[in-house]
């Protein structure tokens, strides 16, 4: 009961702040928390990056291994994106199979990488129909202080830019950097009453009346979207959020090692 009461009080407070253009942590409605990216954090991976988005901490490791192309795409390598939401990351973790939120997180990040054609799967074929590289993008959530989606895709993008094809280890040639073609950035907004804020903290996520994630690439395209949580957005909301997302995307992309260009 206490829990429900305090949740209610916090929600009301967050909403009233938003009405007057303010947020719990003092940010402007359209302001991200500080971003810190540490590429190459884990040397056991073929590519990796630790991303800190405010207090949110996400680690991504990329592994490249020999595999077999799918029967219906003999000329393409394969890509698997997985987000592990481990009990270390928040008190809300529940044991059992991955929660719907964890599955959504994996899929939303995966969709942005695929839709943006971040890597060209055709370049991962070794022998058509027989041998290819399998690219595993594994995201490990360490500290969930809100907005896992944006942090996870930043980590994935940085880890892919950092990755090396370990051809030597598998005796199929010399090592070479993994080619990264486009960099998708996801920008997540939540509605708090009439206000719509970017990069929500976990407190703001608990209060939200709808979440919208917009993935954009460096050419000015929207490549993926995901509305989540209970709540609704008008088409006009979406149009204006697309503009905000494009601007955030361009700025965040410059923070990646190697800058705005892939």
């Amino acid at each position: 009961m206490t829990n429900e009461v305090t949740t209610e009080i916090l929600a009301t407070h967050v909403m009233e702040l938003a009405k007057s253009g303010k947020r719990l942590d003092g940010r402007a409605l359209d302001e991200y928390r500080p971003v810190k990216i540490t590429p190459g954090y884990v040397t056991s991976a073929d590519g990796s990056a630790l991303v800190e988005l405010g207090d949110t901490k996400v680690l991504c490791g990329v592994k490249l291994e020999p595999g077999t192309p799918y029967a219906d795409t003999p000329n393409a390598g394969t890509l698997t994106t997985n987000a592990e939401v481990v009990p270390l990351s928040s008190p809300d973790y529940e044991p059992g199979p991955p929660s719907p939120a964890a599955v959504e997180l994996s899929r939303v990040v995966d969709r942005a990488i695929r839709a943006a054609e971040t890597i060209d799967l055709k370049e991962l074929v070794v022998t058509p129909g027989e041998k290819c590289w399998t690219c595993f993008v594994d995201i490990h959530i360490l500290d969930d202080c809100g907005n896992l989606i944006d942090a996870a895709l930043l980590a994935a993008a940085a880890a892919l830019k950092n990755a090396v094809l370990p051809a030597k280890r598998f005796e199929v040639g010399e090592d070479s950097p993994l080619k990264v073609h486009h960099i998708p950035i996801e920008t997540t907004f939540v509605r708090l009453g009439d206000a719509i804020v970017v990069d929500p903290t976990s407190e703001e996520e608990g209060t939200t009346q709808g979440r919208l994630t917009i993935a954009t690439d460096e050419t000015g395209n929207v490549v993926a979207m995901q509305k989540g949580k209970v709540g609704a957005f008008s088409p006009q909301d979406v149009v204006s959020l697309v503009d905000r997302a494009l601007a955030h995307g361009n700025r965040l992309r410059t923070l990646l090692p190697g800058g705005n260009h892939p």
Binding site: T73, N75, E104, R107, F233, P235, V242
Partner: protein, 249 residues
């Protein structure tokens, strides 16, 4: 969008701007809805939309199982979107894969946005969608069916929820994609609308669209949803027309 490394890519628009099945860009596939098709469910609906065949059933409000998922201040809305193993070309392993789990989640959230969940604390409302035959747009067809099933079950909600996908094929925006258009087109954007409020409760997108294209696609989607909405209301009218004489007996 599944075209990477695939063998043959079909032509999606002909010289006259007609689509692969002869439709215009804003033309829907034939849509048929029947309410009240199942006996055990509290509400149900069957939808045939192009070559999609979808059944939806609603149970509740009823006790929550397992008990620890119960919420003290509202009903829990549990949607399960499931594809029959024979609904697609290559047999699908039975059970919910990650795609189905994600769709189940966003549909649950879409309906919780229109249901008066605070009025049924400590209960669950189960929304079950079975895709029997699939040809692109199944999540939209599922929402359309579930929405009618909820009404058939007599569960109060703020509005019916029509849904449609808008996509980009051969460089043009088009509504209600079929399989080839979904596989080889440039973008796919499913959406679900609350007509009375004009707001979207489901919105997903994958592909490539510029900001102006997005604005136009949203408008086309809203117009498409309005058409679907009429078919939904019509199905419910027919359902009530059937029930009334029976009740009079």
């Amino acid at each position: 969008m599944g075209s990477v490394g695939a063998k043959d890519v079909p032509q999606l628009l002909d010289a006259n701007g007609k689509r692969i099945d002869g439709r215009g860009l804003e033309e829907l596939r034939p849509l048929k809805i029947e309410a009240g098709v199942l006996t055990r469910a509290n509400g149900s609906a069957y939808v045939e939309w192009g070559e999609n065949k979808v059944m939806a059933a609603v149970y509740g409000p009823r006790e929550v199982h397992p008990r620890h998922m119960q919420e003290n201040t509202k009903a829990v809305v549990q949607c399960r979107y499931n594809m029959a193993s024979f609904s697609v070309d290559e047999r699908k392993k039975p059970g919910l894969d990650r795609r189905s789990q994600e769709i189940s989640k966003v549909i649950s959230e879409a309906f919780e946005s229109v249901l008066f969940v605070e009025e049924y604390p400590r209960t669950s409302i189960g929304i079950y969608i079975e895709i029997l035959q699939a040809n692109a747009g199944t999540r939209c067809a599922g929402i359309v069916a579930a929405s009618v099933a909820l009404a058939d079950a007599g569960i109060p909600m703020s509005d019916l929820v029509p849904a449609i996908a808008v996509g980009k094929v051969g460089g043009k925006l088009a509504v209600d994609l079929r399989k080839e258009e979904d596989n080889y087109g440039e973008a796919d954007m499913p959406m679900a609308l609350v007509p009375k409020s004009g707001r979207l409760v489901l919105l997903q997108m994958e592909g490539h669209m510029t900001a102006p294209e997005m604005a136009q696609a949203l408008e086309m989607g809203v117009r498409g949803c309005q058409q679907v909405y009429e078919v939904q209301k019509d199905a419910l009218k027919r359902r009530y027309a059937i029930q009334r004489p029976t009740e009079a007996v």
